[in-house]
Subunit: 707 residues, 2 copies
């Protein structure tokens, strides 16, 4: 820990407050940084904008600056490439609007062969990175979900968006998106001459820029009343210039009738249900089976990759807001007093870009190691921090640019109905910052609620370090009297009386005190118990374990969103062979590339056919997927084509192969080639893809081909 | 080809017909067999029951006999084990009724960790065996499907089951299952004193045994009228002894409203849809994109693994009849004149157990090579035969007992609305023979129908071997007059006139003949064309390709059903260590085993902790999944436990490991153990699982451990 001198001014800066304080003191590096973070969140001085001369802090400032520069560059690149990416994805059939020949269906997409392969590879990598590495339990539960399950989870009541409707055409809009679209349109138009602006432009002109910018940030968290107020203020109407309805909640779940209803009235087998809005509920309802599977112990995690459905009011932005999507969710069940993870230490130093709720209105993102953020109370606990750090590693391994990642904490009024602390991992896209992974501390909300509605206990036994002494009520039974009155039934009655709950004992005691007798039911029989048969006493008992409802930490991935973000981030340019022949390609990391290798015979010559088959067999044996391109196009054009869809390695069969059985392997990023024996191709490509060797290793150990 | 003498009597045997004919002639082995099969289906003598003295035929007879004996043994084993299997699957959380804590939901199941892993492994193997091996295009399309798509596919009209309803309680039953349950109950009861029999038992007693047996076979294919007749005849009532409704069709699709409807009346964005009943329609509607992806050429196959939904009237039999299920479907698009497959030759000699429509009422299953069955016209074409043979190989590789497999051809009146020839691959289970894979020749039905409804051509260009000469109508334009009248627009009008369809030319010609002028629209402009501007002539044109609608061959797998069948077939007994300690375990083939390897330290000793971690890392690197069991149970008990859930290999860390770094690997089936260096465990287990080496190879090259 480097000791350093702080001899500079801290600028205090908060919304409408600017104070300066001067500090001159000595700190260790760590404690300085801690003060530094702490001061922002917990000191009496609300937010401190820092200016500290010290190596580490200078570096940090540089990092922030660099990160801002990188972010701008990324944004520019993404926006500049967008049109070409769209064309590429359509042309190469990555994905397409579902039922295109019927005019498409909004909010539904089909993945074509490369898109589907990319999706499979991302799921596989996710399974490896999370489920296998952390020994989670993967399960697969039903999409069709009965009403009472989603009533208990709170989704029937609260899984809604506010909607407004054109009162003439009946067209629907999500209220907040509609308002923010209008504001963005107004702010985006330099001339302020907006054609068909569906609001009173004069009212907008009276507002300050800051007011509108602020509204853009907060509009997503406003109530129906607040939204109505804004609609009134700016005289917002529908795109068809009609009056809009007052905002009203619209439940986003698809309703389904499960069971036969037929032509008659509803049958008793019929049950109202929904398509699940998240995979999580299927995990919670299986909690007892899962903890039993784990030998009754906490903590453990269960995960699920599967479909979720949301009846979005205004699906938009391609794969980013859809009605049917693949989710990958983890529910980590943990003792609420020990919210950590056994692998936490491996990730605690990961530096995360955090946009906390304290800094949100100013938009200040802080680069901070997980451990610090937890020490300072920014991130609530180690378990949450662990999964955030893992997400960061996962996303960057998928090719997401680190400057395009931030963790945004939910504001208190935007939190989902089930959560106490939420961090959305957002990725920078051409549509702005998009939530791709949610990290929520759902506490005991779900288990408590399902326990209440299902009447089945959903609890875990926790061993106590020090046994505790507790008061419990116990019955003292006069077996002689019970035996005398009930004869052969006496034994059964005594056993029953010994097994009841504390609450039941109280009830019986009260009843006996009140009227001297109590009706005890066993099966279909009823027995009259009297005061002389049983007395109740408080006893002190030493307990070695307690029964608790676990807390749940939930990382939740939108796989479709991630796919789209990866595609935007990995699109790369390079100069082609001919002048002015700029080529774009997808620099998808080999690990998740849809196809790992292409097979390219240098000419279309029947002598190569057997070699192609041989190579295909070799690659198959090593588990390497491949695509053969035997079209007559030039080898350069075919390289460009396999680059385009993100194939990381290309193996070329040429005339030398006929002579000595060697082929060339070309790597997509460096475009360098090595010559290897055909038999070793499978192993080399496999090892490069799995990451156990690097391309540099390959170029060092095999002869480079000079083109 | 072995020449042999046939000098025996053929017995002709058909329903109510028994004729004998004698044959004495010489045949080659092959042509004999052919005559043999042909005679059954195409000769004037309807069905020939064979008795031929020749080596091959004797063998065949033996094979049939053996197969019948094996089948009986299998049946006995499955039924005997059923109760223990159910307990095992529940105890080890393979799968469980969904939302169990809410009392379960009929027809919905959740897969727990081993079940989910088994499902993933089967899907992975299927993907390898079909998609990767045959270079199919895997796609992933939406479950939510708009009304018009399923209207076009015929599902809105015809995807129904006949239902009857208790007219008092409104309880629903699938009509055919209800009747067959009653018949089975009657036939199964030896004493004929059936309590609460929901039909007139006297009427049943008047029927012959054969009549009822026959009804059991045909009841699934009867019309509503025919079912009503049977219900009348036997005075069938509901289980609550109420009158049942007349059978009526009930559509098995779940209806869903896509888009916002909210509190007002229906919005224009609202669209009625269904949850897809099969994944196939998502492939058909993407036909144009897919054939473009294949460079415009036929044949090609597209595949999809995904969810299907059917609102079953009476879900039953665990995973066998459910409301939500994973399907794996292939659509092979092929020139209708060349229904074959490039890998056909590799599978043509596979002997399949065929229960053809000709033999179905007698229940005669024939063991026959695919090529023969096609030559004899039993299986319609090579493409269909190819996929049936592949299915047979796939199922046996999954551990399905060959004696428990048969291919049942659909009777003409039971065929799905879209198919011309169907073969269900059925597997013998404790519930009887269950359809697990459908093989249908859907011909051009789906593409034609979607083309008609979407108005988008769904066709393929086929190169003709010999170009054909066809009559076409071509316009001859008088450019001088067109130019004079329309000035600078002349060029555009001439181009337009040259590009119209034949039908349009006829329409223009008729119009010009009729009234001398025609209004030609180009964009928003209308031009008056007169007779002097254009003449139409028939011309002979040489065509090198034709436009066709491809045929579609569809193998369709029910993954859940397959999982259940595998579990029933692989359950095995063996004697435990102690006397009378009979143990059951799941002999799941290593390829699809949920977990590949267990790690068992011989004692619970902290000195082993590091070794466990080391071994886990080695296995992970080789992509081998593992489960660590550090409970205090004896090593024998822990072997039994990992056997039980089908883990094929167990690695034991013992005190020798501490000394020399070697461990033992035990194989589940032979229970034999070898001692190997810890570093080579990953490679050995990986290679055994992938099948590139056998366990025998391992025991030959490594020292055996004698226990």
């Amino acid at each position: 820990m480097l000791s350093l001198i702080v001899s500079q001014i801290f600028y205090l800066h908060h919304s409408h407050l600017n104070i300066c304080i001067a500090l001159k003191c000595t700190f260790t590096n760590n404690s300085l940084q801690n003060l530094f973070y702490l001061s922002q969140y917990h000191s009496k001085f609300p937010i401190i904008k820092r200016k500290i001369t010290s190596d580490s802090v200078d570096n940090r400032q540089n990092m922030l600056n660099n990160s801002a520069i990188d972010q701008e560059a990324l944004k520019k690149r993404i926006l500049g490439n967008k049109e070409r990416l769209c064309q590429l994805l359509k042309k190469r059939f990555f994905y397409i609007s579902s039922f295109e020949i019927y005019g498409g269906t909004s909010g539904l997409y089909d993945y074509g062969p490369p898109g589907c392969a990319l999706k499979n590879e991302i799921e596989k990598f996710w399974r490896e990175f999370f489920i296998i590495h952390d020994e989670m339990f993967e399960i697969s539960t039903a999409c069709l979900t009965p009403y009472n399950v989603l009533k208990a989870s709170g989704h029937v009541g609260k899984f809604t968006d506010l909607m407004v409707k054109d009162e003439v055409t009946m067209e629907c809009f999500r209220a907040d998106s509609y308002i923010s679209d209008i504001i963005s349109k107004f702010l985006g138009s330099k001339t302020k001459e907006i054609v068909n602006f569906p609001a009173n432009i004069k009212k907008f002109e009276q507002a300050t820029y800051e007011e509108l910018e602020q509204l853009l940030v907060t509009v997503g968290n406003l109530s129906a009343e607040e939204l109505a107020e804004i609609m009134n203020k700016y005289e917002i109407i529908s795109p068809s210039a009609n009056k809009l309805s007052h905002p009203f909640p619209f439940n986003l779940m698809f309703e389904v009738q499960i069971g036969p209803s037929g032509l008659f009235n509803k049958s008793k087998d019929l049950c109202t249900g929904f398509l699940r809005p998240e995979t999580a509920q299927g995990i919670f309802t299986n909690f007892n089976r899962l903890i039993e599977y784990n030998g009754g112990k906490l903590p453990f995690a269960a995960a699920q990759i599967g479909l979720g459905f949301r009846n979005e009011i205004s699906p938009r932005n391609g794969l980013l807001r859809v009605r049917e999507f693949t989710m990958a969710e983890i529910e980590y069940f943990v003792n609420p007093k020990e919210k950590s993870h056994r692998n936490y230490d491996k990730f605690k130093d990961t530096v995360l870009p955090l946009l906390s709720k304290f800094n949100q209105t100013q938009g200040i993102v802080e680069q901070m190691p997980v451990a610090r953020a937890i020490e300072c109370g920014i991130i609530d606990n180690k378990a949450l921090g662990y999964f955030m750090a893992k997400t960061y590693k996962f996303l960057t391994s998928c090719g997401i640019n680190p400057s395009g990642i931030r963790f945004r904490q939910h504001m208190d009024n935007e939190m989902a109905h089930y959560a106490c602390d939420c961090w959305d991992c957002e990725i920078l896209t051409s549509y702005g910052w998009i939530e791709v992974v949610g990290h929520a501390d759902r506490m005991a909300y779900d288990l408590t609620s399902h326990e209440k509605h299902s009447k089945v206990p959903l609890k875990a036994h926790i061993k106590l370090d020090d046994p505790i002494i507790v008061d419990v009520i116990k019955p003292t039974i006069n077996k002689a009297i019970v035996g005398k009155i009930f004869k052969e039934k006496g034994q059964e009655i005594c056993e029953k009386l010994n097994q009841l709950t504390e609450q039941k004992y109280k009830e019986i005691d009260d009843k006996l005190n009140e009227c001297g007798k109590y009706e005890l039911s066993i099966g279909e029989n009823v027995y009259h118990i009297t005061r002389d048969m049983v007395q109740f006493h408080k006893v002190l008992v030493k307990e070695y374990e307690e029964l608790i409802t676990p807390s749940v930490i939930e990382p939740s991935y939108g796989i479709g969103r991630l796919i789209y973000c990866v595609l935007e981030h990995v699109l790369t340019h390079r100069q082609g062979d001919a002048d002015n022949d700029e080529r774009i390609y997808l620099a998808i990391p080999a690990k998740i590339a849809p196809i790992k290798c292409s097979i390219l015979p240098i000419f279309n010559d029947p002598r190569f056919d057997q070699l192609i088959e041989k190579l295909a067999t070799i690659l198959s044996k090593s588990g390497v997927s491949y695509k053969i391109d035997t079209t007559g196009a030039s080898i350069g054009r075919r390289y460009a084509r396999t680059d385009e869809i993100g194939i990381p390695y290309a193996i070329t069969i040429d005339f030398k192969t006929l002579e000595d059985g060697t082929v060339t392997i070309r790597e997509r990023e460096s475009m360098s080639q090595v010559r290897v024996d055909i038999a070793s191709t499978g192993g080399i490509v496999h090892d490069c893809v799995s990451g156990s060797i690097s391309w540099e290793d390959v170029t060092r150990t095999h002869p480079l081909v000079t083109v």
